[in-house]
């Protein structure tokens, strides 16, 4: 088992290396002069030269890359072009809302989707199953920004039961926090819930056809015990896998959702950076989010060992 874990941990290194190289070299691979594009249409030659200097575009590629990686190792993600503040500091300020949004969403999505998928598989072919499948296909067809505005329109503007936009820190009380986070979480969680519900259904359905499920029934176990104790545990590996993989969608969705709900998180930071073409911030956000994605999937690999003894040994 330790060999497996060490192998998985070591495997994240090349992945992160590729991410770093890719993010860094984008500056050089992009057609045209990135400094000119970043500077914008109204920039003078001086502005462009200053940005080029700032991004270190005048030095040879490898030297720049070396410096950049060296700084990265010390937690230095560079300096924002627009505000002159360190990117890491800017990101840290915006971390909490994003962290709370994604984790709340993840919890809601999983808690809703897994039971839905299990029930759909158990009742395969019935209208309950069709209902869940319909939810699933609608779930990934409705983009979060459409869904978000629909929810705001319904619950905040028409029914006036929830605040329209904004974010309240959990440190200011759980009630206000929940009031603000519920609509964004539903919005963001829809795609994930759809994916997870679908994968759960497929996976459980496949497991239900296995001989050991028949054995479990033949023992006299009640249906819910067979479904949860025997079927779900066997079906869990693909479900956990899809949760890990769909974390990328969650991050992408968070950027849009924060923008719809005016949540001052990393997503907003990114959107502002886009408008100002503040590339160092975008770079920093990509690195951190990709790192989070890699860590989540490492966690998934570790969870496998609890789910399937065949991986453990």
């Amino acid at each position: 088992m330790y060999a497996y874990l060490i192998r998985r941990i070591l495997a994240t290194i090349p992945v992160m290396a590729v991410v770093a190289v890719f993010v860094f070299s984008l500056l050089f691979l992009s057609p045209g002069d990135p400094a000119a594009i970043i500077a914008g249409d109204l920039a003078t030659a001086d502005d462009i030269a200053r940005i080029r200097e700032r991004l270190g575009l005048n030095e040879p590629f490898l030297v720049q890359f070396g410096k950049w990686v060296f700084n990265l190792m010390r937690g230095d993600l560079g300096v924002s072009i627009f505000s002159n503040l360190p990117v890491s500091k800017l990101m840290l300020q915006r971390l909490e809302p994003t962290l709370m949004l994604t984790s709340t969403t993840l919890v809601i999505a999983i808690c809703a989707a897994v039971p839905m998928g299990v029930i759909a598989a158990w009742k395969a072919g019935t209208f309950i199953d069709r209902g869940v499948m319909l939810f699933a296909v609608l779930g990934f067809s409705f983009p979060s920004f459409v869904l978000g505005y629909l929810l705001i329109y319904t619950f905040s503007i028409k029914l006036e039961v929830l605040p329209v936009q904004g974010y309240t820190s959990i440190s200011k009380g759980f009630g206000p926090f929940l009031n603000n986070i519920i609509l964004p979480s539903l919005t963001l969680g829809m795609v994930q819930a759809a994916l997870v519900a679908r994968m759960t259904r497929t996976s459980v359905l496949e497991v239900l056809a296995e001989d050991y499920i028949r054995t479990a029934h033949a023992k006299g176990l009640a249906t819910h015990k067979v479904l949860i104790g025997h079927a779900l545990k066997n079906a869990a590996v693909p479900i956990v896998t899809i949760i890990g993989v769909s974390f990328a969608l969650l991050i992408g969705g968070a950027i849009i959702t924060e923008s719809v709900f005016a949540i001052p998180g990393l997503g907003r930071l990114t959107v502002d950076a886009i408008l100002r073409r503040d590339y160092p911030i975008i770079q920093g956000v990509i690195l951190v989010f990709s790192g989070a994605y890699v860590l989540v999937n490492l966690a998934v690999d570790i969870i496998y060992t609890f789910l399937d003894p065949r991986i453990r040994f």
Partner: protein
Amino acid sequence: MVQATQTMTRPDPGSGGAERVLEIENLKTHFFTRDGVVRAVDGVSYHVLKGETLGVVGESGCGKSVSALSVLRLIAKPGRIVQGSIKMSGRNLLDLSDREMRSIRGNDISMIFQEPMTSLNPVLTLGRQIAETIMLHQGLSKKDAWDKSVEMLKLVRIPEAERRVTEYPFQMSGGMRQRVMIAMALSCNPKVLLADEPTTALDVTIQAQILHLMLELKEKLGTAIVLITHDLGVVAETCQRIVVMYAGKKVEEATADELFERPLHPYTVGLMKSVPRLDRAAVEEQARLMEIPGMVPSLKNMPPGCAFAPRCVFATERCRIEEPGFEMKAGGHFAACFNSDKVAETYHG
């Protein structure tokens, strides 16, 4: 029930009227598929006596496994038990609620399956899987159920049971897994053990071990066994009585001795002749290994008359029109054939 069969009123062959622990009457289990109704089990009756070993024999698809699964009411859609009764201690299992039925499964009647490699849950320890049944039916604590699991593993002669009980199925061989299945099935002292091709998937050397183990435990625990198999050789060694099934129906029933001595149904004869034998010198008797010509008919559109007629060398015009009844041909020997006299003659002649 309506057709209170003859078997009920007649003395049981070779049993001196021992108690019937399980009684299946006129069972019909059909599968309603998109392309038509498959009559997998079509009016089958048999009973199991206390502590005996009953063989249910037939080719794959003859309905023998479906009849066993029907006993536990484990028939999945599109299948359904459409008629008949399955009685145990005076209660008709088909009338029980789901909850009552669950208290029978694994407790009064348990079952082991053909595929030991896939019949155990791969992600749960053996101990957990055995203890689960014990806790469910005997209300033991986790600790006691676990101890009982170890005991059961010892009973089926798994070495180092204390260690093995914490292991997972993938760490064991097929024969070992089938032993675990047996331990699990017998853990609540069932009255009847339904064994569906328990040795088919195993190596020949292991097959004999498993069979002997089952018989030995049967004696020890007083459990009756219904041994479902296509292998007449296995049945000959182990069973007191034999039921032969063909295309969803029972075609012959007799004590094992009687059946092998004097088979009365051409299908039974066919089965016997298709078993390779080493004891009788093949050259001497010029008995060649025979196969039964033709195929099992589609259970969706059964021909009128006897289902075996298209493959039968004895078939007459009558066989193709009229279905033979299941009748007693000799003391305790039943068959569904118009020409059973001829069959018996030919077999010996």
